[in-house]
Symmetry: C2
Subunit: 440 residues, 2 copies
């Protein structure tokens, strides 16, 4: 091949012992190492050895998940890695733009331009951990997020790129005319600025988004540079891909400025039979009562009396409109029930693997085929790789799937450029404020 082929982007979604909810019960699993930094580091070093674009941490401010906090974990990882991008989920509803802008700027400086921000409005109500009575309603949270992101961008832009002088002769550390108050005043935020750290190496960290509701898609088309999304079929992924890409034009953006990465949650082994064996073992370890309880909570109906084996019906289930949370995930479950006539047991199995993401059980070559199919048929710019079992699932992905993708000319054979933006083929944003001296 003489001309450069379009290149895949791969992100590893870190998740303790694996994305399968029962992965921690496997004989080799080490759940006691979920807070052990050196254990986490080895996983990320594997991803870097595989030349992946980035690793990613989900997050929330409620529950009993017992994970490290993203800024602290990714900063520690930044100092022990050289190339891989580091994407932190940070919610807008329960945070302050000044703190978030600053921590991302700091992470971007520490990592020399490898930070990414997965913007969520706050999946799951954390209101009661922050003195509030109620989780704000879905569309309000997006309005708020829209302002939040605008404020953080202005804060990153409050230092012009050449504001730092360090001029010993004149005694000027900074060109004070190039550090600006932003005097933002919106409906939700009022922030004077400037930020107390220079503009990040990447201008802004890479902006990532994962909501797939109507407001989520519109928000993504406006601000996101990467989307993580969940689809159970190539058709659904193609519809989404086309839908979101065609919204870009109205915001003056091109197709290339937004990378769409569906989740893929594999169980891999050298043979199909071995892979199937791991899958069966994982299913055995699911706590079915707990799974039914959780699904009941999510769907807003008590499923405990329903048959595990008969096809589920939608009767009595909460519609997506009634949900004030992860609307797209909810709709995906309703679609699964309707389209595939799954039994409760089958649904639990499907969701247990990766909470609604596309699960895959098979060999490295089969997975490479699937990835190539989606990538070359308008369904994906790459994938959010969610091994059902960590670290072994990432090991086999890096050792066997990555070389196969490289052989097919679909994936890089060395890291290009220096920053996460370079890996993703995203340009460094100009300072969006046309600062003039008079504005200071």
């Amino acid at each position: 091949m003489s001309e450069a082929k379009r290149q895949l982007h791969l992100n590893a979604f870190l998740f303790g012992t694996g994305h399968h909810e029962a992965s921690w019960r496997l004989p080799d699993a080490q759940p006691e190492k979920n807070l052990d930094f050196n254990h986490l580091l080895r996983i990320v070093q594997t991803a870097e050895r595989g030349l992946l674009d980035s690793v990613f941490l989900a997050d929330g401010y409620v529950g009993r998940s017992n994970k490290l906090e993203p800024f602290t974990e990714l900063s520690a990882l930044a100092s022990r890695t050289k190339h891989i991008g580091l994407i932190a989920t940070v919610g807008t509803t329960y945070n302050e733009p000044f703190h978030v802008a600053r921590k991302f700027a700091s992470l971007d400086h520490i990592s020399k331009g490898r930070a990414g921000w997965n913007i969520v409005t706050g999946a799951g109500s954390a209101a009661h951990n922050f003195g509030l009575e109620e989780h704000p309603e879905h569309s309000l949270r997006y309005e708020d997020a829209d302002e939040f992101v605008e404020v953080t961008k202005q804060l990153w832009d409050s230092w012009e790129d050449d504001a730092v002088l360090n001029d010993k002769a004149s005694g000027k550390l900074y060109d004070q005319d190039k550090i600006h108050k932003i005097d933002y005043e919106g409906q939700y935020y009022k922030v004077q600025g400037p930020l107390n750290i220079a503009r990040p190496p990447q201008g802004y960290p890479v902006l990532v988004q994962a909501g797939s509701s109507e407001s989520g898609k519109e928000f993504a088309a406006k601000v996101a540079e990467v989307i993580f999304t969940a689809h159970q079929s190539i058709e659904s992924a193609q519809l989404f891909y086309h839908d979101v890409k065609s919204r870009l034009a109205k915001y003056g953006r091109t197709h290339d400025e937004l990378k769409i990465l569906p989740g893929i949650s594999p169980i891999l082994a050298e043979t199909e039979a071995e892979a199937k064996e791991i899958e069966d073992q994982l299913f055995e370890f699911i706590d079915k009562d707990e799974a039914v309880r959780r699904l009941s909570e999510r769907l807003g109906v008590d499923l405990s009396a329903r048959s595990l084996d008969a096809p589920l019906t939608l009767e009595g289930l909460r519609s997506t409109d009634e949900v004030n949370g992860n609307k797209s995930r909810h709709q995906l479950i309703l679609d699964l029930i309707r389209d595939e006539q799954l039994s409760l047991k089958q649904l639990i199995n499907r969701l247990g693997g990766a909470r609604g993401h596309f699960t895959f059980t098979g060999t490295p070559i089969q997975l490479a085929d699937k990835i190539e199919e989606w990538f070359t048929h308008g369904a994906a710019d790459g994938f959010n790789v969610m091994p059902q079992v960590y670290p072994s699932g990432l090991d086999i992905f890096v050792n066997r799937v990555v070389p196969e993708l490289q052989n097919r000319g679909l994936f890089r054979t060395a890291y290009e450029g220096n920053t996460l933006r370079d890996r993703l083929g995203l340009k460094r944003p100009e300072n969006a404020r046309r600062w003039a001296k008079a504005l200071q």
Copy 2:
């Protein structure tokens, strides 16, 4: 000497190119590396080589200081060091207890028990960066801080030490009866909990405090385990030491449970003459106009027309009662003017070195003498070492002062224990909530 001598504690206060405001203009200074993690790392590795208890970062949410943010910087440092404590300043006024408790828990897990929290109420008003009109008044900030710390402690205690089971056989990750809502409801905060991370290795990070006002001292006696404080003379330090230590009993605490570390800001060289030369060079580099402007702002009076060389008078200066900020630092400046009849130039020089901390220019042996004097005469349990020039000032401290202190039997010759609490001789706090199943 046969019996174990009381041991000094030493903390290195990190500060860019040094605590002297003009240090960045020295020929060897590298202010362009203030955001360069590897440069910062080398400094901290020097401190660790010197067996110092800890390093410490100040912080604020306003201004143009262009520093890394403490949680991100210290987490990155945690993964590249093994023994040294990592103390982050985090303000209570503009933060949420849930976020702060969680990030410190995460840093403590990443560092395996080396985190410390310097609790400030927010020096300098950051109100306008957080949508507020005004910086809350001094005593209100301490009331708020008191609640804030109480909530964070309860959040750290929301997981009992043995709550994590990882029991593959039963399928129980956690003992749900040992993870608790805290249902805190006070005047300023309402937080349900539990925290979403297990209790920190140290129980709580080491709690540090730096305010020396009346409310500050009372707050410190109640909650702090280390105090950073500023004194210009051994007499002032002795008074403070005695004052704060004698407040401990009423909170049921012993003398040993609170370590008092005055700041000492040295310029060191092999001979006095060389040290004096560095001092002179630094003074040359101070921007006198800017210094007068800043001092005017701090003292609430325009000093630009006053003589640089005549003794200053207190006339027209704001009294400490009128200050809503760093009251103790303000009083210290007033005392200096009154007691030592300093000229404006002398005052600028004294403050330029270390913003009111005890400055020292001389040889390593002279500094060791001074340290021993304060330590053995009831003025200090150790020192907050603030080199006026980084990294050279820390290099000479570690290479020349530390061995001298070791020779005198005043300082450790190897790290003892594993955690920052072990280094400081502080016990790991028990879970303060007497959790019972019924309380869950």
